[in-house]
């Protein structure tokens, strides 16, 4: 083969190989992400129960969903859990990052301790906290043994409080991660700005309040994005900790979807609730991403 033909072949390969390499993943994405969303969306407009049926039935599934009290319990729980989880993680994470930023000895060891829960499965976290919050032998007993005879802690079995136990365990698992992101953000800020402010006589709290925390804006948006994503999808933690109970008191949309679709044989309801979860994610993430790109452009 001549040198030029060889070169032509190479040029041809260079033109097509990249597309060829990328195509399996693209095809998979088209089928397994976009196609499957369309499939679920279609299913949510049918009267499917045990078996999928494909005749158009309008909004019956959504109507049934919105008339289902359990769905509203799940949605309200997501609101309570989501907002508390996000606020607590942000506050605890930011506070810890600021404290760790004070030229602390053994910073590495402390960071390791704060972050190890992220390596655990939510099922493990749920199992551990379920045992510790156990009203008979857990925290309550520890406090009673310490002399607080009237101390009661029955949130795990109290329908009014069970969702808050999920917040406790969730914050324990995720706040270290938020700390790591904020700490990385703080370390990324140009030292000269801080030095200049110090020369101007600004106190440390002022420097944090007026300069450092405002410049964490982009990090703040990423954290918000990740936390709301975790909150909306939360499933395993609730399953392991309360199983959605007592009764349905700590139900969340992900558990609702799982049970209707896979244990009760109500495919249409499962599909409709899954679509509602997708809409929620889009409704939360799209404005956040928009704000994030805008704030990133400005900085």
């Amino acid at each position: 083969m001549s040198a030029s033909a060889n070169q032509g072949l190479r040029a041809l390969a260079d033109r097509w190989l990249p597309k060829l390499v990328l195509s399996p993943t693209l095809a998979a994405s088209l089928i397994f992400v976009y196609g499957f969303i369309a499939w679920t969306g279609w299913l949510s407009f049918t009267e499917s129960r045990l078996m999928p049926r494909f005749e158009w039935a309008g909004f019956v599934q959504y109507q049934a969903l919105f008339e289902n009290e359990r769905w509203w319990t799940a949605a309200a729980n997501l609101g309570i859990f989501g907002s508390l989880f996000i606020v607590c993680c942000l506050v605890v994470g930011l506070l810890m990052a600021i404290l760790l930023d004070q030229k602390i000895r053994a910073e590495g060891a402390l960071r390791t301790i704060y972050l190890y829960p992220m390596a655990l499965s939510f099922i493990v976290t749920g199992t551990a906290w379920k045992w510790m919050l156990n009203p008979d032998m857990g925290l309550q007993k520890v406090m009673n043994d310490l002399g607080f005879a009237n101390f009661t802690f029955d949130w795990l079995v109290n329908p009014d409080m069970s969702i808050y136990t999920v917040v406790i365990a969730g914050v324990w698992q995720s706040s270290g991660f938020v700390m790591a992101l904020f700490l990385a953000g703080l370390r990324g800020i140009d030292d000269s700005i801080i030095k200049a402010a110090q020369v101007d006589g600004a106190s440390l709290p002022t420097i944090y309040r007026r300069i450092l925390i405002p410049s964490l804006r982009p990090v703040f948006f990423s954290v918000l994005l990740i936390l709301s994503h975790i909150a909306i999808k939360s499933f395993d933690l609730v399953m392991a900790l309360t199983g959605g109970g007592p009764g349905n008191s700590s139900d969340v949309p992900a558990i609702f979807m799982y049970q209707f679709a896979f244990t009760r044989g109500q495919l249409g309801q499962g599909a409709a609730s899954a679509m509602m979860m997708l809409f929620t994610i889009v409704a939360v993430l799209v404005p956040l991403m928009y704000m994030e790109t805008r704030s990133a452009k400005r900085v």
């Binding site: 260079d14 190989l17 990249p18 990328l22 399996p24 993943t25 693209l26 397994f32 992400v33 499957f36 969303i37 679920t40 299913l43 999928p52 810890m96 404290l99 760790l100 004070q102 030229k103 602390i104 402390l110 960071r111 301790i113 704060y114 972050l115 190890y116 829960p117 992220m118 390596a119 655990l120 499965s121 099922i123 493990v124 976290t125 199992t127 551990a128 906290w129 045992w131 510790m132 520890v142 790591a180 992101l181 110090q198 440390l204 948006f221 990423s222 990740i226 994503h229 999808k233 395993d236 392991a240 992900a254 799982y258 679709a261 896979f262 499962g270 899954a274 997708l278 994610i281 994030e292």
Partner: protein, 285 residues
């Protein structure tokens, strides 16, 4: 300055130490509980050390505990998780490497749009694909098998791994690749000779991230693998939430630690990369 205020410094350290105790407490309680006898658990205090250290709960959790109808302990499910995680991590990482190479170094018309299209896969709640996936796995005859789970994890993990490698390769100067092309190096030669040798760190980050995600997954496991092929997270949940007979908290805790050990081990050995993976995953937003 703050750093000269000794009282202030002491307060900072006290606060940090207190938080550290809060984070370590569950691990401590899990460990001590797993070594206690049931009597010790019932009569003693959750925070106390075991009166006598006993390993019985560990043996039971590993080989005898009942997860539903079966009573073979965590052993079999641990290996299920290994058999699921190892191939899924390897395949999704390799795919992500070549995909990331294409979308960063071989951009063509529309490649950015295609990459964005791929990224959407990182954001969707997986509930929205569960029903059709269950149907498809059933049709392919791999419902309730480890093979099915590997497929699912590869399919939905590749969006993340592509992002990891793309964000890494985008920092490599273009000139390197251009010069190599002028010298006559082709697609695979450039990848193998120039990019792979510098990709060590990102491979570690990506493998650790995928390993943690897939090992810890519960949703796909509980939906797509029932009975014998279920991964350890599902088995653990079954063990803890089966309410037959006496609740053996020591066995529960030992089983939970067994389920957590592989990812904890990876975190201890390669924590630096673990953190980098988390932050890289976060950049994606």
């Amino acid at each position: 300055m703050f750093k000269n205020l000794t009282v202030g410094r002491a307060l900072v350290y006290a606060a940090l130490l207190l938080v550290a105790i809060y984070y370590l407490l569950p691990l401590y309680v899990m460990l001590t509980t797993s070594f206690k006898s049931l009597d010790d658990i019932r009569n003693g205090n959750m925070l106390a050390l075991p009166q006598a250290w006993e390993g019985g709960a560990w043996v039971k959790a590993w080989a005898e505990a009942c997860t539903g109808v079966e009573c073979g302990g965590m052993k079999g499910f641990f290996w299920n998780s290994v058999k699921m995680t190892v191939p899924a991590v390897l395949i999704s990482t390799l795919l992500g490497a070549v995909n990331g190479y294409v979308v960063s170094m071989w951009r063509f018309k529309g490649s950015d749009a295609l990459f964005t299209m791929l990224l959407v896969g990182c954001f969707i709640p997986f509930q929205v694909v569960l029903l059709p996936m269950a149907q498809l796995l059933g049709m392919m005859g791999i419902a309730n098998t480890t093979t099915g789970l590997v497929l699912v994890h590869v399919v939905y993990g590749t969006a993340f791994t592509t992002l990891f490698f793309r964000n890494f390769y985008i920092t490599v100067p273009d000139e390197l690749v251009k010069a190599a092309r002028i010298d006559g190096a082709g697609f695979w030669t450039i990848f193998g000779r120039i990019l792979l040798p510098i990709s060590g760190p990102i491979f570690v980050v990506c493998v650790i991230w995928q390993f943690t995600q897939i090992w810890n997954d519960f949703l796909f496991g509980v939906v797509f693998a029932a009975g014998e092929s279920q991964p350890i997270t599902v088995a653990l949940n079954n063990l803890v939430n089966t309410s037959t007979g006496v609740k053996e908290y020591n066995v529960d805790m030992a089983a939970a630690i067994i389920a957590a050990l592989p990812t904890l081990f990876v975190y201890m050995v390669a924590g630096r990369y673990f953190v980098r993976g988390l932050t890289a995953g976060a950049v994606k937003g």
